[in-house]
Symmetry: C2
């Protein structure tokens, strides 16, 4: 029995469509013309038969784990781990000041490996399982790698993680603890990326590289379905998303675009791409016809990217749906990180706190509309990157443990 | 209108009962006789009117957030954070070997500050709010302090955290990021403990010290209610709990004891206290009439305790309910940590992995009953203590990023 595939791939750039008869990464035509110094064209978007899916209610889609809107056959292919369904917190005040709109904090550090990347790894891993592929490779600067390693551990798959040798030891530790194979390369993230693709071509390992594998976007889109439900079956007005290579923001857009196509929402939320001024290769190029690279230098290592792998799709989404973009200084990111923890009890890594920094910037410039609902997407735990914030804090000198000393401190 | 208090305190040691007319920590009579070198007597147990609560079903108790079984008046006093309701995962195999019984992993790293301690901090903080107290102090070696700091941030309360100056910088960073006041003392955890109590007496700060404040046990018991529900309204056969000062294990016991008194379970699960041989001051003393201290030295810093603050209650529980105790070597803890991550995708701190080590020990000695259900309680994220496991792993040397090098590694 042959079944019609429930989804198609559509090239973000040339618009060609492909049936998923076999594993497919980029659009082969566009990919041929890609060069090393420009963001790649040919990232694929996954398209479903929205007209037929429309017959179902959101709750019925949810009861089936959104399987109709995911490129896998069976929910049982997913890892036995609680992925997604992360908390959404309402924040009324910041530093005791009321804000114009409502602020909602989506805490995706509450995932098995403590980052948003688990959403992508889970779908990629499930797909591999359905294709009976046991080895999955990815290039990573840290979070994607530790996520894939953790998800592979849960699935009994072999994760192979290629990292630049300079990657932080903390993230490498996590990768090794999950039993994955770690391959540090003497080079950059881009070198690791290219090597992983060669390994896929020549050794047959399934490739999870972000953007390059279109399923990463499909995994990352699930946050939109959750937000829609958590907010009472509506989209927020604005969503602040930390942006590096443009895959997470494309995932968020894609999720809401699915909801739009299903007629579940009437208009897209305004999505704000937040970057660091030290790595603003998407925000800075939005209005340029040619992409001009600026070398990255930011403390927010998860969003430090020279050539954003999903630049073109992110740009398409932002321009099609009237998105916004902003770049903030590293010191604003650090300050946002502190303000966020202090006001909410949610400790996020600097890259994630950048999204909160974007919101603070909007607040300061009175750009939050009265009565509006503004989501801040936090993509990873603060425990993943302590070094950056340690520059900002100072551990007090020890005191002798007697009450008179303490009173002196508190009553002088 | 005066209302009858819904709970009473009962001294674990002399049995005296007290009405909670004001804030109460230890039994004053027993506390008078306490000395520095022995575990304190007089920790209070919180007792409810079980006969009247019995009228309700478990689901109706749950729908009210178990408020009938908690020492607070109002669920709205609790922080606006997702505390507890953590995942329970079933593990069928370890290293591809089937186990005799079913293994269930309770992942309490999935809490706002990434540790079990949030359960206690939440109840303490809510109680303080109801008493209109804004400042909460605790002595801590790290996790309890970062938990209280995070919960206070969410509640708009002032957390004051006293730590030995030697506490790991990672945990201190988290405390400071939450905006708490950090007071390192030139001394041990015990010195910090004593100073925090003096501060409570002389400066009026509410005290969260574990065990000393009976509400910490009440907060920690909530895991029992969750397990009961997650396992289909029954208790597991065995629960492996990492043990340091004896408060978490007492919390787990207390929760199941509540269920027993309500007639919801017929017998207590067998609780296994797992310690490190480098810090086994509860396990080693269980059959002694006199407590003999051995100085602690273990890599599992969250369960490294000389004088367990809740020794007597833990011992009472273990002996009354036929509990078991085991001490395992540090290298078994490290190995357990690796096996756990590798087999499940759940990365826990060494103290937590000790519980899994206990289970592995039982498995190895064929002490898991066929068909039995065995829960392993994981109390904190592996990201909280990377140093310990870094001794065990080795980051491979970088390779030049070309495919021939890679093939050599994979085909030689």
């Amino acid at each position: 029995m042959t079944t019609t595939p429930k989804f198609q791939y559509k090239c973000n750039d040339c618009g060609a469509t492909y049936n998923p008869l076999e594993i497919q990464y980029m659009c082969p035509e566009c990919n041929k013309k890609n060069t090393a110094n420009q963001p790649p064209k040919g990232v694929l978007k996954t398209i479903y038969d929205y007209e037929s899916i429309k017959q179902q209610t959101f709750d019925s889609l949810k009861s089936r784990g959104f399987l109709d809107l995911l490129p896998i056959k069976n929910s049982e292919s997913l890892p036995n781990l609680a992925i997604g369904q992360t908390p959404l917190y309402t924040l009324d005040k910041i530093d005791n000041e009321e804000t114009e709109g409502t602020i909602l904090i989506k805490d995706d550090a509450q995932n098995p490996t403590f980052s948003y990347k688990d959403r992508a790894s889970a779908i990629v891993s499930a797909y591999a399982k359905e294709q009976e592929i046991n080895t999955i490779v990815t290039a990573s600067t840290g979070n994607a790698g530790s996520s894939l390693a953790g998800i592979c551990a849960a699935q009994g798959q072999q994760g192979i993680i290629m990292v630049p040798a300079s990657a932080p030891v903390a993230k490498l530790t996590q990768i090794l603890m999950y039993g994955a194979t770690l391959i540090p390369v003497d080079g950059t993230y881009d070198d690791a990326f290219d090597l992983s693709i060669k390994a896929t071509e020549e050794l047959g390992w399934y490739n999870r590289n972000t953007g390059f594998n279109p399923l990463t976007i499909e995994g990352k889109k699930t946050v939109a379905f959750e937000l829609y439900e958590q907010m009472g079956y509506q989209a927020p007005d604005r969503i602040f998303v930390p942006v590096g290579d443009g895959v997470i923001i494309s995932g968020v857009y894609k999720g809401f675009e699915d909801l739009l196509k299903l007629g579940l929402i009437e208009k897209m939320p305004t999505i704000v791409a937040v970057q660091s001024t030290g790595s603003d290769n998407i925000a800075r190029n939005l209005s340029n016809s040619e992409f001009v690279v600026k070398q990255s230098n930011t403390i927010a290592d998860s969003i430090s990217v020279d050539i954003p792998r999903n630049y073109h799709m992110a740009k398409n989404f932002i321009t099609s749906y009237n998105g916004e973009a902003i770049a903030i200084e590293d010191n604003e990111i650090l300050e946002a990180s502190y303000k966020l923890s202090k006001n909410t009890g949610v400790f996020a890594e600097p890259a994630a706190a950048a999204a909160f920094g974007g919101l603070l910037h909007y607040k300061k410039h009175s750009k939050l509309d009265k009565g509006s609902k503004n989501v801040v997407l936090l993509t990873g735990s603060g425990l993943k990157d302590l070094k950056a914030v340690q520059k900002m804090i100072q551990i007090p000198a020890p005191i002798m443990p007697n009450i008179d000393n303490l009173k002196k401190i508190y009553h002088d």
